[in-house]
Symmetry: C2
Subunit: 122 residues, 2 copies
Amino acid sequence: MNALLLIAHGSRRQASNDEVRELTKALAQKTNGDYSIVECAFLELADPLIPAGVSACVEKGAETVTVLPYFLSAGRHVVSDIPEELEKAQALNPGVNIKTAPYLGSAQGISEILINLSKQAS
Amino acid sequence: MNALLLIAHGSRRQASNDEVRELTKALAQKTNGDYSIVECAFLELADPLIPAGVSACVEKGAETVTVLPYFLSAGRHVVSDIPEELEKAQALNPGVNIKTAPYLGSAQGISEILINLSKQAS
């Protein structure tokens, strides 16, 4: 089974973490069956943290975990912190194949989304 | 003339600020003539700050400035800090119409972008 794991920074503000959880539910409805498990995890400040998020996927039967970094720039979190946490997760779950997708801010479609948003300005 | 002003958080890491500047150039090429001025500004840590970014648009002839918050969640920055800075900018430029679009993380298309990114995982 394939799992998709959305990783966000995490916030002291619970509503921000809940936005990530809602997005995770939306993702689960749009994977077209490519991923039977869709979870989220946080780098810090909210649960589950990344190793626990990977373990949750594995406990549900994931053989592959595809990580989606929900970050806008290739800063320290994307370049160093998330890979380090994924190494810990890999050590805890040696049988699982953990892959990482490009971070959100690098996606081609962002500028089109922004242009569309600009039409809703008030 | 209409201006589009992308507002990002700003980072101590120049490469992150440069990512925002590159995105601003990409935006400028995709506005289909709706905006003759496309600029970026930062909430903190990088130049121009928000009031200077609005002023730059006005100096180029903008009568309307549409602000695009390049943020993933409706945290303090989106809810309080950016509106406060825009109030300062409005006071400096009383003749300009400043409008604010929904923040990036609230956009419908984000989950599709994430699904597409997941296919590039390695």
